[in-house]
Symmetry: C2
Subunit: 406 residues, 2 copies
C-alpha cells in the first residue's frame, strides 16, 4: 500500500472517452491498494478558448477576473472524472482549489503555491475515496481564485505529492517518458528509465517540454519522486529522482536542442568596465531574456566584440533596444542571425568525468559543423550552430556519446 | 439614485460583442447614479454542452459533481463582464456563489436559495463598484457548489434584488416585454406596460416562457418589482408588480396557449368514491403531471367518464400506467388525443367582473370552435380545443376582449 499522486494533462482528458480511460487507470491503482489523489488539467483546447474570450474582451484584462474565467476548465474535468470514477465503482469526489484550500500568493496569472491543506483528503483516503483535485488553480488570501500559469497543473501535482508525502507523483502525458534525444529526429533515441532532477531541469528548459520547469524545481526541493509516463500505454515511464537513486550513472544522459534562439553580435564596443551592464541592463529592463553570452578578448586593447542570444520572438525588440542605446555603447556595428540552433549535452556524470566537451567539439568538427558560441555549466555543455545542421549534430552526438539504442 | 439589479440571460451574453453590449447597458445605469448589481447566465449553448458532457460520462451522475461542472458557465461570463466593464471605465468585480456566499439547500441540481450575504456588495456600492454576480449557482452547507435548475438565474436575480432591497429587478431578455398574446401568432398583440405577479405566473406557466415561474413566485413573495425588457433595444419593457400598483386594470390582461398537452378519456369508469385516486395516484407515482381534469356527471348512476390532460411528452407513459391499472378501474375504454391545444384567458379583473367566461364561450362558438374541456381559476379560464384552431381562437379572443393594438 502506497500513497500516490497521478496527474493527467489536457490531451489525456481531451474528451469524455479519454476521461473514462483516465478513470480506468486510476481504478487500477486503487485496486493495487494505493491511496490515490488525481490532479487533472482542462480538456485540451479549453484553456486556449477561455484565454481567447478574455483577449477579445479587453487588451489588458484584470488578472483576477482572468483567473476566474480560465480556472473553469479544470473545474469541469474534475467533476467529469469524479463522475467517471463513480460510474466504474470507485468512490471519488472533486476538490477545487478553494475547497481544500490550495493557498497561493496573489500574483494572479502566475501564482505560487504556499500551502495545501490535505487534512480532509487524508481522512477520505481512510474511507477509500479518491481525491480528484483541480490542477492549475488555488485561492488567494483575498478569497479569489488564482491560477499558476501555463503548465501549472504539473506544479499542482508535485506540490500535492509533497504535502501528502506521497511515494510517487506520476505525470501522465502524451509521450511515454523522457528520451535521450528527441525521437522524432534521432530515431535511435532511447527512453531513459531514470534521470536526475538536475538533468531533467536542463532537458526541460532546453526544449524537451515534457515537464514544466517549475514543477521539477519543486520536486527537487521537496524530494518528490516524479514519473513521466504515457496515458495511452500501460508501461513504465521515466523516473525523475535524486542523483543517489541512480546507481550506474551515464556520463551523458541526453542531448537537447532549441531552435528558438537568435544571435546578436556587437562589433567594436569599448572594452571597459560597465559595458556589459550598458548592454544587458536595457535588455533586462525591456524584459528580454538573454541566454548565452560570449565576450571576445580584446585584440586592440580598446574595443571588443560581444555576442549573445535572445529568444527569436524577442529579436526585433532586442535590436530596437540596442539601437536606442547605441551611443552609450560607442555606436558598435550590430549584426544578428536568427538561423541558429542551440545543442546541449547534459549529464550529471560530467562532474566527475573529463573530456566530455572535447568529445563534442571533435565530433561536430569531423562533420564540418562550425561552433559559433559555447557555454557550459556543471552538468551541461551548449553550443550554438547553424540551424541547418541541427539534425546532423544531434545524430552525430547521440552516437558519439554511446546513447544509441542497441 | 436607486439601487437596481440587472439580469442578462444566455442569449444576451452569447458572445464577447454581446457581453460588451451588456457592459454598455450597465454603464448607462451607473451613469444615471444608480447602485448596480448584475446577474448573468452562461453564454447560450454552454450549459447544454456541459450537461451533455455529464450525460456522456454517466447515465446517472452524482448531482454534486454535475453542479460543479455546469456552474462553470456562469463563472466565465461574470469574469468576462467584469473585464468588459473595467475596459469602459466602470469599476466592477465578479462574485461567485461561494464568494458572497449565496447559501442554498443541498438539493443539488434544483437547490433553493436560503440567504444571500450582501454585506460586501453593499460596501463596494459605496465605492461606486458594480457587483457582477453569477446566476444559477450557490453554496451548500457542505461547502459544495449547487445549482438552482434551468432558468435559475432569474431566481438568483430576484433573490438578490430582495436581499439588496433593490428598487427594481430588470430582466433583460431576447423579447422586449410581456405581450397580451404571442405576437408571432397575433400580429395585433400589444406589449403590456404592467402586469400583476399573479397574471405573470399564469402567463409563464401557460407558455409565455419569458420568466421562470419560480422567480415570479419569489418576486411576489418579496414584493420585488420586476421589469422584463430587451437586451438589444433601448426602451421600457413590462413591469411585473403588485396589483395595487396598477391603477386601471383591464378585465383580461392576456391570452396564453399551450400545444404541449394531450387529452386522455376513460369511458365508463365506476362512479364511486376513490376512483379518482385510483386513476391519478399511479400517474403521480410515475411523476406524470396532470393538468385539466373533468368528470362527467353519471348518467346511469353506476359509471362515469373521466377526461384529463397530461404533457404530450408523457402521453405514452401515462397510457401504459393506465393500462397496468385498468382492472382496478373496471377496465374502462381508454381514448386519447394529442392534437389539442389549451387556450387561457388571464386577468385579475375577472375577480370583480362577470361574463368573462361567457364572452369566451360565445366568441369561440361563433367561429365554430368546439370546447372539449373547461377549467377555471380565480384569474384564469382555460379551454381545450382542437389544435388546428389555435391561431383562429387566439385572434378571435384577442379581438373579443378588446386587446388589439389600435
Amino acid at each position: 500500500m502506497a500513497r500516490i499522486v497521478m496527474k493527467f494533462g489536457g490531451t489525456s482528458v481531451g474528451d469524455v472517452p479519454r476521461i473514462q480511460n483516465v478513470a480506468r487507470r486510476v481504478k487500477a491503482e486503487v485496486e493495487r491498494g494505493h491511496e490515490v489523489a488525481v490532479v487533472v488539467s482542462a480538456m485540451s483546447g479549453v484553456t486556449n478558448q477561455l484565454v481567447d474570450y478574455v483577449r477579445q474582451t479587453a487588451a489588458i484584462a484584470d488578472l483576477r477576473e482572468y483567473d476566474t474565467a480560465v480556472a473553469t476548465g479544470e473545474q469541469v474535468t474534475v467533476a467529469l472524472l469524479a463522475i467517471a470514477l463513480q460510474e466504474i465503482g470507485v468512490s471519488a469526489r472533486s476538490w477545487l482549489g478553494w475547497q481544500l484550500p490550495i493557498r497561493t500568493s496573489d500574483t494572479h496569472g502566475s501564482a505560487r503555491i504556499r500551502s495545501i491543506d490535505t487534512t480532509i483528503v487524508e481522512e477520505r483516503f481512510k474511507e477509500g475515496q479518491v481525491a480528484v483535485v483541480a490542477g492549475f488553480q488555488g485561492l488567494s488570501d483575498n478569497n479569489r481564485i488564482t491560477t499558476l500559469g501555463r503548465g501549472g497543473s504539473d506544479t499542482s501535482a508535485v506540490a500535492l505529492a509533497a504535502a501528502l508525502k506521497a511515494e510517487r507523483c506520476d505525470i501522465y502525458t502524451d509521450v511515454d517518458g523522457v528520451y535521450t534525444c528527441d525521437p522524432r529526429i534521432v530515431t535511435k533515441a532511447r527512453k531513459l528509465d531514470k534521470i536526475t532532477y538536475e538533468e531533467m531541469l536542463e532537458m526541460a528548459s532546453q526544449g524537451a517540454k515534457v515537464l514544466q520547469t517549475r514543477s521539477v524545481e519543486m520536486a527537487m526541493n521537496h524530494r518528490v519522486r516524479v514519473q513521466v509516463l504515457s496515458s495511452f500505454e500501460d508501461k513504465p515511464g521515466t523516473l525523475v529522482v535524486d542523483e543517489e537513486e541512480i546507481v550506474e550513472q551515464a556520463v551523458v544522459s541526453g542531448i537537447a536542442y532549441s531552435r528558438d534562439e537568435a544571435k546578436v553580435t556587437l562589433i567594436r564596443v569599448p572594452d571597459r568596465p560597465g559595458v556589459a551592464a550598458g548592454i544587458f541592463g536595457p535588455l533586462a529592463a525591456a524584459a528580454i531574456n538573454v541566454d548565452m553570452i560570449v565576450q571576445n578578448i580584446s585584440l586592440d586593447g580598446e574595443t571588443t566584440d560581444m555576442t549573445f542570444t535572445v529568444g527569436r520572438a524577442d529579436l526585433k525588440r532586442a535590436l530596437a533596444t540596442l539601437e536606442q542605446n547605441a551611443a552609450a555603447l560607442g555606436n558598435p556595428r550590430i549584426v544578428h542571425d536568427a538561423t541558429v540552433a542551440k545543442i546541449s549535452v547534459i549529464g550529471v556524470g560530467m562532474r566527475s568525468h573529463t573530456g566530455v566537451a572535447q568529445q563534442m567539439f571533435k565530433s561536430l568538427s569531423e562533420k564540418g559543423i562550425n561552433i559559433q558560441v559555447i557555454t557550459t555549466s556543471e552538468i551541461k555543455i551548449s553550443v550554438l550552430i547553424d540551424e541547418a545542421y541541427t539534425e546532423l549534430a544531434l545524430r552525430t552526438l547521440h552516437t558519439a556519446y554511446g546513447l544509441d539504442a542497441g
